[in-house]
Symmetry: C2
Subunit: 572 residues, 2 copies
């Protein structure tokens, strides 16, 4: 099978067996502005691929590049992969397909219809490898499906996807300008733009993309420690007094620990506790702050706990204000918290892993009012902004502190023997050595959508959440976990099956209600029609947490979810 | 432009405008074993893609899926991206192309021929996005080029690349079985296989893929601390005595700090110091061990330093034995170090980020003799095994310690309300919350190559290094940094330009020689013909460190490097 020329192409061109077009990696002419993309100009330019019939049953990895004559099978193999992937992309957006085809671990381990996960000494044919790729997708979860609501990260952005394909083809890392010149500069410019959105004058400051919100938050704690107790870097925590960190109690507590529980999908709030454990503070020194009924930290409680800690002789160091909590989508009142941090000279970090994206929306960015007063901010474009996983930024207002904190190289600024400005080498700022290229897909999406494209994305998702809220707030069989329009896209609610509706509140009813969401979720997964998360929180038994971050979602998908919950739950 | 049927296909089929083939994501029939891959069977199966002429100048991101009628432009856009990428792949392996087209940061920031890195409010057309993708690759570095020797990670494995494309299309994370069932199981099986290669009975133990060797090494230190001082997790480092960590001095020292210096490419040895700083031990409590002339830790020095630390009242906790150091490629004597660790009851970690791959080779695995006695092992398939970035494993012999160390969930084992076995949910073992899917490309490569394929890869790269060593060890104008056949693929040498050859050893000569490698490297980058790393080490002034991990490299590429060094360096 070949690609032949289209009708606009003189037949003589086709005798080449492939088409060549008017642009090339190596030539100076630029595509943009040129109209005839697919000219038959027979010049020394890149050939377009042609798909040929290839029997992969006798081909192996060793026959691909760099093997002699490996070019043709390499291209054909990659095109077969692309065929599999483009079909997957199409189905992802097709509501007539399932979100997932669930199987238990033991079923997949036993080998579904020949899908053998075990590794062996001998190679498999490329034909089998293609089958393995199809099976991997078949038994996975379509996180871009318009009815997948299970995670804060969802959707399948086509530009972002293209960016990831390119990133993996470039296969480099962010350690030095030398090996990633373009990506290093893109990271620098994008971080500056994000700092401008935060409101730091002139976009000044520093930052990095890190492997997720938990690591970004860990950086913030490390920087706070280095700012106030730099000697810890060399002497360890014993050089500092007993330091305490403050973060929202919207974390977990009695019921979560003692009752049956399903882990929240992305526990970014755990991350301060995880950082406390890892960095040598100890989880006992992570003090949880009380919240109001909407899950927002109560500033007076913060001040009381700071005073209490000081009275005990501890040293308050760091406050995490959450901008978009995982379960309720709550935004802590940053300005009031910042006042307290200034009063007591504490580092203020804003964990906007989930809510940071709202900074792109003129309508919703007021929810982060005061964020410009933070010392550091975590912001995960891979959540609310629909960037493919992973893409998380740690941003810091003060220049130099990130390198000061992590550099192991006293002579960092004095390396005149490279031929370029080594200030662009970012490796020494990171706790990693090599660092994955997470920037390109985000940069490319920003180019392709513009800031206004992200704004539209965010406004649309928040509108859909309000649609859901309006639909169920007074609907029979539903109860909201908290009153009022959600601040973020999180809508938290109980579905009350008919059998429980007339039952008075009691321990028995609570226990029964606690089992409803897990049962409905299990049936959803078995039927594969949709996925939504649930969890308990504080005194509240298991409830559904609906979130929207996928641009593919429409009101009809919200309607479908509600219909599905009622269909599956009516007889419980 | 369309894909038409090949000649074996009845013409009537082509009236459909596209071909359909005999396999589908959704159907039960399996491809393997079927001969006619590209039948014209007009059944309800996946359509193969067809490339059509598309004018992208009036199309924008908003016109792609999930937009109405977005399927066709989506597929066409992705195919254009694939066209760019497949051309890049071909050129990567083409020795007539450059390794890089170097530009200084200010040049790229000013906008090369319209390549504008700045982000704006308004969207750009898809035509411009395609140009941006071409330019991103044009000004980057071809890390898979057979003459790119700059990093421990190099090469462009086609199967691994296909795996990464699929991974980004699946766009999920490793937090729970629920959202990554296949990938979670692949990780589990692959880690078990790696533990078997290490030699732990039955492949028992635990592990994770982490975002790089530095984080993997950080895990090892955290686990050691948790094993001996579990109370640190809750109470912080003040609950423990002064703990010390030991690692090789092949790290950096006086000359590196005080002279002009180029950072080694991947400083995995820094990672223990970075971990010491981050985790609250303090870098002063990371004790560096003396090495022999080949860069291997001297066990007697370890024992002396343990005794010394104990006499000072400190508590030795952890020893890192390096299996393949970054610069010399040295393997510390694991068995002798393990004897000492057993005697003093210390945690033994083997950092095999670079050398772990040699476990796949029957010929070379003896260099890691004793690795089965380690408590934990770092092993980066993205280095010596040619897996695309990133792919790093932390493996641990004792079950439960990884979760014990990192779990924030006391009720971890008691969550019966999910409908599947939640022991497959790995999120709570990690310091991250979400975790990137790094396993699939590696699993797919292992399937496609078999264990023997990795063995051949490793044996071939080591043979090439020996070829280089034999070529230059007695060649005029070269001096080896250490004597003897290299243990790994690292070959460290000085090129002595004719002007320095007859000059007696002196401070002046040393200073001049120190500037030779940077000058040659700068010229190489300007001409774009090849790239190789250099750095000083200890008392040794800047020398070249040649490494081979790319299967595409041949003896002729080694010859080319030497010719190029001589061409560029002869007049220095």
């Amino acid at each position: 099978m070949e690609v032949f020329g289209d009708n606009s192409c003189p037949p003589s061109c086709n005798t080449l067996g492939f088409l060549q077009k008017n642009n090339s990696l190596d030539e100076k002419g630029r595509l943009a502005g040129q109209k005839n993309l697919l000219s038959c100009d027979n010049s020394d330019r890149d050939a377009r691929f042609r798909l040929t019939e290839t029997d992969f049953s006798n081909l192996f990895a060793r026959d691909l590049l760099p093997a002699k004559n490996g070019e043709e099978p390499t291209i054909q193999f990659l095109l077969e992969i692309v065929d599999i992937l483009t079909n997957y992309v199409k189905k992802t957006f097709d509501r007539s397909t399932k979100v997932l085809d669930f199987h238990h671990p033991h079923q997949l381990l036993e080998g579904m219809e020949g899908f053998n996960l075990e590794l062996s000494d001998q190679p498999e044919s490329l034909e089998q490898i293609l089958v393995d790729c199809r099976d991997t997708l078949k038994y996975g979860v379509r996180t871009g499906h318009p009815r997948f609501f299970n995670q804060l990260s969802s959707g399948l952005d086509i530009i972002g996807l293209a960016g990831e394909w390119l990133t993996s083809t470039a296969n480099t890392n962010m350690f030095t300008y030398e090996i990633a010149p373009v990506f290093v500069l893109m990271e620098q410019l994008t971080l500056k733009k994000m700092r401008e959105m935060i409101g730091w004058a002139g976009g000044e400051g520093d930052g990095l993309f890190s492997p997720g919100g938990a690591i970004s938050n860990m950086y913030s704690v490390m920087m706070a420690r280095y700012k106030y107790f730099p000697e810890v870097k060399t002497k360890g925590m014993s050089a500092a007094p007993r330091l305490v960190l403050f973060t929202s109690e919207h974390v977990r507590d009695t019921i979560a620990d003692n009752m049956t529980e399903s882990k929240p999908n992305l526990q970014s709030h755990y991350s301060i506790k995880k950082a406390g454990a890892a960095l040598g503070f100890g989880t006992d020194n992570v003090i949880l702050l009380s919240t109001d009924e909407r899950g927002r930290v109560i500033p007076a409680d913060l001040e009381a706990k700071i005073i209490d800690a000081k009275q005990k002789g501890y040293v308050p160091l760091f406050v995490n204000a959450t901008a978009g909590s995982t379960v309720y989508g709550a935004f802590d009142p940053i300005n009031e918290i910042a006042d307290i941090c200034e009063k007591y000279n504490l580092w203020l970090h804003v964990d906007g892993a989930w809510g940071g994206g709202l900074l792109m929306s003129r309508k919703h960015r007021h929810k982060l009012a005061g964020v410009e007063r933070a010392n550091s901010v975590t912001w995960n474009p891979h959540k609310m902004m629909g960037v493919p996983l992973q893409c998380s930024a740690i941003l810091v207002r003060e220049k130099g502190i990130l390198a000061g904190c992590n550099s192991m190289c006293a002579g960092y600024l004095f390396q005149p023997d490279k031929q370029y400005d080594v200030n662009y080498d970012t490796g020494d700022k990171a706790i990693q050595c090599g660092r994955h290229v997470d920037i390109f897909k985000f940069w490319l999406m920003w180019k392709a959508k513009g800031t206004i494209g992200f704004e539209q994305h965010i406004d649309k998702c928040l509108d859909l959440s309000q649609y859901l809220y309006n639909k169920i707030k007074n609907r029979e069989g539903y109860q909201m976990v908290f009153d009022g329009v959600p601040q973020h896209t999180n809508v938290c609610f109980w579905y009350i099956p008919p059998s429980l509706r007339s039952m008075p509140d009691s321990e028995e009813r609570r226990e029964k209600l606690h089992r409803v969401a897990p049962k409905i979720k299990a049936m959803m997964m078995e039927s594969g029609t949709t996925m939504v998360g649930y969890q308990p929180q504080g005194k509240n038994v298991n409830f559904f947490r609906m979130v929207v971050s996928n641009l593919a979602v429409t009101q009809s998908d919200i309607d479908f979810l509600i219909d599905e919950i009622e269909r599956l739950g009516q007889d419980l």
